[in-house]
Every structure is written in structure tokens, then in C-alpha cells.
Amino acid sequence: VKQEDPYSGYEYQKLAVIPVGIALNLALGGLVAAIKLPVYLDAVGTIVVTMLTGWRVGMVVGVSSFVLASVLISPAYIYFVASQAAIAVYVHFVGWTLRAFVNLWRSISAGITLGIVACLVSAPVIIFEFKGAAGSGRDFLTALLIGAGARESVAVLLSGFASEPVDKTIQLLISLSLVRSFPRRVLIRFPHRVCVGN
């Protein structure tokens, strides 16, 4: 007797795209971490998958890739899973509700706001767990602000506000250009693609 398969074609498509998003997050994030660039680029996969399939799958991609990255790239990734979840929810919200990805300027402003959201979510981890260090280029700015007399928490927030919007805007624009460059025969399999104007 054949068992009933509870999964439809789109459900399988969502399952199959999760490892691709994870691979994109790990490949870009790992590369940037290895060459110590002052940006992270570790959420491109999360953003692309959220644009294609919605926040639930995007959140699974973000959280899973950071759990995997904590084993394969750097153990500190595990502390920032909440940022990935917040990125997925935010991208879904601005993409669907505010139609933020239909032109360049709206996309840039969405990227800047995404940076502020990511900074607010990751700041408690950097302040309480890592005592101010993030292990990236922004640490120099944090140290400079602390040296100038700022409190540790204020310095972490200000350095985050300076670096995260740039990083997240770059990530959002890379993700948009990736999604818009996909062949139509592939995009047709993702009903959520409409939120990027395709």
C-alpha cells in the first residue's frame, strides 16, 4: 500500500532551496571572515530565500546556516541566530507590506533600516557575551569611542550604527541583483518572487 505523501511540489521546492541558501550564507560569510573585510555578507542567502519563499523558510535558512557556521567557520556565529531571524522577518515585512524592493532608492532605505534592526538585535550579545568585541573591523571604532570616553554599551551601539547599515544595504542590493538575474524558468517555481518586482 502506497503511503500518502504529505508534501506538494512547492513544499519540496522549499525544502530543496534551504540548503542552497545555507550554502550561499556559508560561502560568502566564510570568505569575508577569512579575509577580514569590514563587512559580514553572511545573510545574503537568508535574504534571497526570504524574497523567494517567505519569512518562515528564510528564518530556517538563517538560523540553520549560523548553527552550521558555528561548527564549520566560527563558534561565535551561534550567538547571532536571533539577528538572522530578525533579518528574515524584516525582509518579508518590507517586501510584502511596504513593497520596498520595487526600485533602487526604496531598496537602499530598506537596507539602511535593516542595518539598524540587525544592530539592535546583535548589540546585547556583543556587550554581555563578548564584552564589546565583535571580532571584525568595527572593533577599531568601538575601541576608539571607548578611548574617547564613551560607555561600552554606547560605543558598541554607535559602531554598529556606523557599520551595519552599510553592510546590510550591500547585502540587500546583492540579493536583489541575484534574484532579478535568475532565469524565468527557475523563478516561476517560487510564488513569493512577486515581492521583488519580477
Partner: protein, 239 residues
């Protein structure tokens, strides 16, 4: 028995990670890390651990050292006093992160190597769809590497870029788009195959018959050690 081993394995690692997160005793954390290094050396994973951990842990520790040296706890405090206070903090951070990484690698990497990961995930009552995603996530890394090499060689054949490390780095932005587009296309093909084969249903009947995993008794002993470690981490926290 296999399911019990998997549960105990996960619990003992979870308990160790909890203890390491709570501990701020440098010597305790160093001891834990060195113990795991010995265990990793015994299973041939020490190079993997060092490559993955040191590339991140050293910059993190140095950043922490710089920042905590600059913080003034008491007005008029000497720089040497601040440095002396920052060193234990940076060392504790470095050893804590390294020990957690070693524990996770020691727990999961052998499972991937001997094909027991599916059993482990199912023992933890993970849904079959999630098991499928985890396995897909592990296998796709090799596919990314192979496709990346293909695209890079194709660009070289077109006379774009040079065949050295710097040349490969400069080619990366141009390789990203075709690489990801081909990955997405292959994911669409993979989804069709999974659907045709009703893979989620098939996974429910999957069992590795020849399980080369440690016994439940051994994992019970490790769980006990992890529990003792957790208690020690709380008892020897610096005031």
C-alpha cells in the same frame, strides 16, 4: 539502544556547552579545551579544529584585549593595570569558544563521517523534512565547490582572470551570479526528484544496520562527566 546513545550524546554536549558558557575560570576552560584537543587528535580531527577555530578565536581575543584595556573601571587607573585585567577576560573568551567548538566538532563530525547522522537526528524526533534539509545542507557544500571550480575554469578558458589565488579572488564577484543561478536551478531539479521518489516517506523507513557508535553506557559516563563539569563551572566562577 542506538536511540538512547544519540539522546545521551546530544545531552552530554548540551550540558558541556551550558557549563562552558557559565564558566569564566581560565584554567578550567583551558583544561577542558586541552582535553578535547587530545580527544580530537585521537579521532584525527585536530587539524580541522585548529584551522577553523584559530582563524577566528585569535582575532576575537585580540579585539577583546584591546577594548578591555581601553575601558577605565576606576578613574586614573594605570594602563598596565587595565591590561592585567583584560588578559584573563580575553583568555577566558578564547578558551570558552574553542572548547565549545571542539565539543561540537567531536560530537557531530564523526556522525557525518560514519553515516549515523540520520539516526541521531531521528532519535531527537526531528521531522523527516528537517532531516532531509540537514543532509542536503551537508552534501551541497561539495556541489558548491565543484561548480565553483567549473565556472572558474570556464572563465579562465575565456581568458578572464589568472590561475592564481589573487586572480581567483578577483573573479569571485563575477562567479557569484552564475554559481548561485546554477545552484538554484539544480535545487529545482532536486525538488522534482525528491517529489518523484517521495523521499520524505522513504526516510521514515531508513535505518543504518551497521552502527559504529559508542555504547549507551559510555555515553552515560560522558553525560556524568559533563554534569560534573557543569557543577565545577558554577562552583569555580570568579567572584
Amino acid at each position: 539502544m542506538g536511540d538512547l546513545s544519540s539522546i545521551l550524546r546530544g545531552l552530554s554536549v548540551g550540558l558541556f556547552v551550558a557549563g562552558a558558557t557559565m564558566s569564566d575560570n581560565v584554567w578550567l576552560l583551558l583544561g577542558a579545551w586541552l582535553s578535547f584537543m587530545i580527544a580530537l587528535a585521537m579521532v584525527g580531527l585536530v587539524r580541522v579544529h585548529l584551522r577553523l577555530t584559530l582563524a577566528f578565536v585569535i582575532p576575537l581575543a585580540v579585539s577583546s584585549l584591546v577594548i578591555n584595556t581601553l575601558i577605565t573601571a576606576v578613574p586614573g587607573e594605570l594602563l598596565s593595570d587595565r591590561f592585567g585585567r583584560a588578559v584573563p577576560l580575553a583568555l577566558a573568551l578564547a578558551f570558552r569558544v574553542s572548547a565549545i567548538a571542539a565539543a561540537i566538532q567531536l560530537c557531530f563530525l564523526p556522525l557525518i563521517a560514519n553515516g549515523n547522522l540520520v539516526n541521531f537526528l531521528r532519535a531527537w524526533r526531528l521531522p523527516d523534512s528537517a532531516v532531509l534539509v540537514v543532509i542536503g545542507g551537508i552534501t551541497i557544500l561539495a556541489e558548491v565547490r565543484a561548480r565553483g571550480r567549473q565556472i572558474f575554469e570556464a572563465r579562465l578558458a575565456q581568458g578572464l582572470g589568472t590561475a592564481n589565488r589573487w586572480g581567483a579572488l578577483r573573479q569571485l564577484p563575477f562567479m557569484l551570479m552564475p554559481l548561485f543561478a546554477s545552484m538554484l536551478e539544480s535545487s529545482a531539479a532536486r525538488a522534482l526528484l525528491w517529489q518523484e521518489r517521495r523521499l520524505v516517506n522513504q526516510l521514515a523507513n531508513y535505518r543504518v544496520t551497521d552502527q559504529k557508535t559508542d555504547s549507551a553506557y559510555l555515553w552515560s559516563a560522558r553525560l556524568f562527566v559533563s554534569g560534573a563539569w557543569c557543577v565545577a563551572a558554577v562552583l569555580w566562577r570568579s567572584k
